[in-house]
């Protein structure tokens, strides 16, 4: 699929039809620009976290969507045009890291599969960590970063932010290594765990350097987040010891590179980690903007208390509700979330608390849009 010039992101309102033009003051990019610069948009933006879902829109398989950065871009771009939401295309998945360090992954072509998954971990023993080579981005992009770069170049070409995965180090380390072994090393072999985390962090630093150098820091909206550091798996104390130092190193590097906004997704239940996320800004003395997209376990009110003074917080609808609830019920659920968050001092967006279910019917996403249009207007 080729994207024509007049369908470019900067002119997207042109494809929405006359009625939309009459009732909406802002285009999607204007709406996002307003929120990110601390101004009030016409309505709350919608970031449905619709990744694999968009494969339905262009009719590509989920496997091809992940295996080909161009198809991935085109599907997400078509989906944003179709639904009129504000999320721009991005590339990434929870198991990123394994392929890049020389392991094997499989793309999700089979029944029940929702994202690429690890077939062979590059690290199974502590000795493997010593031998592990940090991917070099200067010669050839490692693993899935090739696809991420294809998508990034399409985004940059159309004036959209470049969203690439630059964390989390902890989650990536938990898939570079055999996950059970890695979890055990946190208690039994902490030095080995730190050695691995350091190498994974080095990879993300290399990724930041590559993408900032190619696209410019101001165009970047990097993505950091993952489920393995959730409090269903590790304690806040373990987070402080094994996740926080590497997160801080990455964010300090982003700051020094001139990146001024980051999309954060503390996945699943990370309520006990919130104080560490709060201190990140203070310790770095950073004046940039975070967009916080917590899992549904974190109330919007708690996010506003922790981050509302500086950052954009996101409503976080439980993704499985998009499979179990009706359109009418979802509009009500979204309405409650919008009313809770829309007056957050530094901005709010309506989102799914993790990836929007890839096989959910389109009407369920329409419920988010309709709720934002009906209950999320600031006029």
């Amino acid at each position: 699929m080729k994207t024509t010039k007049n369908a470019q992101y900067i002119g997207i309102v042109g494809v929405k039809g006359g009625k939309e033009l009459m009732t909406q003051r802002m285009t999607s990019p204007e709406r996002m620009m307003a929120v990110m610069s601390g101004k009030r948009p016409d309505r709350v933006p919608v970031i449905p976290f619709a990744l694999g879902y968009s494969s339905q829109v262009t009719g590509v398989s989920l496997g091809d969507w992940y295996a080909d950065g161009d198809k991935c871009f085109e599907a997400q771009f078509a989906s944003m045009r179709l639904h009129g939401y504000e999320e721009t295309p991005m590339y990434g998945y929870a198991s990123m890291g394994a392929l890049e360090f020389g392991g094997e992954i499989e793309y999700p072509y089979g029944k029940g599969q929702g994202a690429p998954f690890v077939k062979k971990h590059p690290v199974n023993t502590i000795e493997d960590i010593d031998k592990l080579q940090v991917p070099d981005f200067e010669k050839e992009l490692p693993g899935a970063y090739k696809q991420a770069d294809k998508l990034a170049s399409r985004c940059a070409e159309m004036g959209m932010p470049v969203s690439v995965q630059v964390g989390s180090t902890f989650t990536a380390a938990s898939v570079v290594a055999n996950t059970s072994e890695f979890i055990s090393w946190l208690l039994m072999e902490p030095d080995a765990a730190h050695l691995l985390l350091g190498k994974v962090c080095d990879m993300f630093i290399n990724a930041i350097d590559y993408f900032v150098d190619k696209y410019g820091a101001q165009k970047m909206l990097p993505f950091d987040g993952g489920p393995s550091e959730s409090n269903t798996l590790i304690s806040a104390e373990m987070f402080e010891e094994f996740a926080y130092p590497y997160m801080k190193r990455i964010h300090t590097h982003l700051k020094e590179a001139g990146v001024n906004s980051v999309l954060m997704h503390p996945c699943s239940d990370q309520n006990k980690n919130i104080p560490h996320y709060v201190k990140l800004r203070t310790e770095m003395d950073w004046s940039g903007k975070y967009v916080w997209l917590f899992g549904p376990e974190t109330p919007v009110k708690a996010q506003i208390e922790a981050f509302g003074d500086h950052d954009v917080v996101c409503g976080n609808i439980n993704p499985s509700l998009f499979l179990t609830e009706s359109y009418e019920d979802l509009v009500e659920i979204c309405k409650e979330n919008i009313l809770e968050g829309m007056h957050s001092p530094s901005g709010y967006m309506l989102a799914a608390g993790c990836e929007f279910p890839p096989h959910a019917p389109p009407i369920k996403l329409m419920a988010m849009m309709d709720a934002a249009e009906t209950y999320g207007r600031y006029e």
Partner: protein
Amino acid sequence: MSDREILNKLSDRLVNQDIEGCKTTTLEALDAGISAFDAINEGLSVGMKIVGDKYELGELYLPHIMMSAKAMDAAMEILTPILEKEGTGENIGTAITFVQEGDIHEIGHRLVSIMLGVNGFNIVDLGVDVSNKTIIEEINKHNGDKILLAGSALMTTSMQGQKDTVTAIEEQGLRDSVKIMFGGAPVSEKWVKDIRADATAKNAADAARVAVELMK
């Protein structure tokens, strides 16, 4: 040291994730004439239940549980051959545990299998990425037993397969032979009800409690 003190020590070793200590205390229990069945039932299982409770209370986390599970495995290596000779006594039923087709997230599934095992279930662990065909075959193998099917899914895509599993069991006329529990991050009580399964649970320790209730 009395038998009770040795069994308490065995439980403590497991709670404290002491793998070597668990091995030596198991041998100590056998030397003292404690049966393998009692060492499991009144020592290791008690310890693992304490671990489960502490996990629910947020006092212990996954790395601790996994180390305790390793300590349990170390003890079971010693006890299993003896147990086979002694017999295991009565159990609550057979739990067929698995991760849904298309899903390879095994940690939660392993914890559920462990917690069901220490609560008296005979465990048939089918592993990850399990097809409905395999599940049906396994139910048929155990037909006549009290069967619990305990499946997990960590993604919305694999969760949707749980509906097909229930349908497949119904189509084979096996629905009355089996109690069905599903768990995993996206699984809710509403979902379980909608797909005509019997129960869900919020974590591995809760799963054991719910499963025991379900089999009554």
